[in-house]
């Protein structure tokens, strides 16, 4: 990734941050929530490129969200940065543990087993009173390095925090995808055994990818928990994971910014669908998903890239 692209990204996000005070609050909350989804999808892309579809990413998302809620409730941790850091670490730790099992599976078996693991967490959350049971737990308003903005200020602060997280995730994930380990993803998807013949442990590589993607999902979960001020077991349910997979398909795994745009589109479509057809938003969502898979199988992000490639092709010809 070139310096000019980083500067461009920083400028766009900075512009968004500066525009926040002039934007209606509901829109800022919506964008913040979309960015939390975007962070999870960023992580999904890493696995997706290796041909792995995690249908249980909600496991790490919920781990992050509950870490925020419980750190506040049990240990009185209140600083947003600390909370998010803890959530990332917890989610990564869980991934490191389950990764010893999960990293050995591929294709549908990977999808199913990750689904089962997230449903185990759901089962535990629903049934245990100390973790809030089906009602979930409220999340106290966090502070930012000792500052305690309230009211609209809190929404802005969270939004700026989210922008910072998006920027770090963008730079970090792009760097990883460009690295040797990241580039090997396509080779793993195409022919894993040949990758093994190159002397690389695919299992360890997948384990690493899973841990990174879990850390991102944990960050997303933490941001969602802070933004909604509430966590509940639904965050670990398989339909939540399905939503993440949905956005990944919509955006495609080709580019990181597309993940955030896809997440934004998802939240907007969902908000509009709920407003227009309260009982029919799944219908709209499902139709969009179906049309995307049938007609733009590489995701909407691929359209941008194809266009760019076409332009470049014309330039050289």
């Amino acid at each position: 990734m070139t310096g000019s692209r980083i500067l461009l990204g920083a400028a766009i996000l900075g512009g968004l941050g500066a525009a926040a005070p002039f934007t209606p609050l509901w829109l800022i909350s919506l964008v913040t929530l979309a960015m939390s989804t975007g962070l999870v999808v960023c992580g999904l892309i890493i696995l997706w490129r290796a041909g792995l579809v995690p249908f249980g990413q909600a496991l790490f998302f919920a781990t992050g969200a509950y870490t925020v809620a419980l750190s506040g409730r049990w240990f009185g941790v209140n600083d947003a940065f600390l909370l998010i850091g803890l959530a990332v670490i917890m989610a990564a730790l869980v991934a490191l543990l389950v990764g010893f099992l999960l990293a050995q599976y591929r294709e549908i078996f990977f999808a199913m087993l990750s689904l089962a693991l997230s449903m185990i967490l759901y089962g535990v959350l629903v049934k245990s009173e100390t973790l809030g049971s089906t009602d979930g737990i409220n999340v106290a308003q966090a502070s930012f390095f000792g500052m305690k903005p309230r009211g609209p200020g809190y929404t802005f602060a969270l939004f700026w925090l989210a922008l910072g997280m998006v920027f770090s995730a963008w730079v970090g994930v792009s760097a990883y995808l460009g690295s040797v380990a990241g580039q090997l993803a396509g080779a793993i998807r195409d022919n894993e055994i040949r990758v093994e013949y190159l002397g690389i442990s695919v299992t360890r590589l997948v384990h690493l990818k899973l841990t990174i993607s879990a850390a991102l999902a944990g960050a997303g979960g933490a941001l969602a928990a802070l933004s909604i001020s509430h966590v509940d077991p639904q965050m670990a349910y398989w339909t939540t994971s399905g939503g993440f997979v949905f956005v990944t398909i919509l955006a495609g795994a080709a580019s990181v910014p597309a993940a955030f745009l896809g997440a934004l589109l998802f939240e907007v479509v969902r908000t509009i669908a709920v407003a227009l057809l309260p009982g029919g938003w799944q219908l709209i969502l499902g139709s969009v998903l179906l049309l995307t898979i049938l007609f733009v199988p590489e995701g909407l992000g691929s359209l941008m890239i194809r266009k760019r490639a076409n332009a470049a092709g014309k330039g050289t010809a």
Partner: protein, 298 residues
């Protein structure tokens, strides 16, 4: 002792239900290599169709026996209609694509059908308890047993035998086996794979709808009942080995008994137990208990 009997009977009833739902799923996967998330929608539509049919039938005060027939007919009809539409309009376009992509297609269809269900039947719950209560119950060793539940276990048993016979003894079953082992070779030998696919999908859809229809009298039929079923059926199929009939039976028994045990001994662990046992089986047998060995392709 009474707890043990309760666990075994509850486990068997639950396993019977799981088997009926899971066998359709595993059949479709075995033949078509499609992990059909929309199976949950077949289940839900079957339950609603049965509840409506039961309501209409019993309101007229017609003889009870016919009520069971009505349940079966409703399930078969809705299963055939839905299966046909889904296979012809959507799945036909994506045969041969990546397995995961097809899963996502069926997931999209599932989302759509969930709302179509609400558009047709509304958000209110329905009950269709008559076939369950009319069947009566008796007590064994102080434990009430419903005749309907016993019938369910019997039905699942018959289904297991019938499906085994159908696959081993009939011409279509043998063609099916050929397609399961190698689709292209079967096609090269003149098997009409396209028709085998259609029939398989229809049978799977009917079985899913039947699972829902048989459950309808026991529960309050509400929107969203397909969501939980589909992950449960996945767990059963994953434990047994995807695409294996024996596997579906054994998987259903394992999950059924484990869940019943958890419900009676440690109720907090009900959901946990099901997926924990699935994870446990997959640790030792990643492809499930009854799957064929796969060659390594380099």
């Amino acid at each position: 002792m009474i707890t043990v009997i309760a666990i075994v009977t509850d486990g068997l009833v639950y396993a019977a239900w799981l088997f009926v739902v899971a066998i359709g799923l595993t059949l479709i996967f075995g033949v078509m290599k499609i992990l059909n998330v929309a199976h949950g929608a077949f289940y839900a539509f079957g339950a609603y169709a049965a509840a409506t049919a039961i309501g209409l039938y019993f309101d007229r005060g017609w003889p009870v026996v016919g009520g069971y027939l009505v349940v079966a007919i409703a399930a078969i009809a809705i299963g055939l209609v839905m299966g046909y539409i889904l296979e012809r309009v959507f799945l036909r376009r994506v045969y041969g694509k990546d397995e995961v992509v097809v899963v996502l297609i069926t997931y999209a269809l599932f989302l759509i059908l969930e709302d179509v269900l609400i558009l047709i039947w509304g958000t209110d719950g329905r009950s269709a308890y008559q076939p369950y209560t009319e069947a009566g119950s008796f007590t064994v060793g102080g434990l009430p047993l419903s005749v309907y539940d016993i019938g369910l276990v019997g039905f699942a048993g018959l289904l297991a035998i019938a499906s085994t016979l159908a696959i081993k003894r009939t011409t279509f079953g043998r063609l099916l086996t050929a397609v399961i082992y190698d689709r292209e070779t079967a096609a090269a030998f003149g098997v009409n794979v396209s028709r085998v696919y259609t029939v398989t999908f229809l049978v799977g859809a009917v079985l899913g709808a039947l699972g829902g229809a048989l459950t309808a009298p026991k529960i309050s039929v509400t929107p969203g009942l397909g969501v939980e079923v589909i992950v449960l059926a996945f767990a059963v199929v994953a434990i047994g080995g995807m695409g294996s009939m024996e596997g579906a039976l054994v998987g259903a028994l394992i999950v059924g008994l484990f869940r019943a045990g958890a419900v009676h001994l440690v109720p907090q662990l009900e959901l946990f137990s099901i997926y924990a046992v699935m994870a446990l089986v997959l640790v030792f047998r990643p492809q499930g208990l009854f799957s064929r060995a796969q060659p390594r392709k380099i």
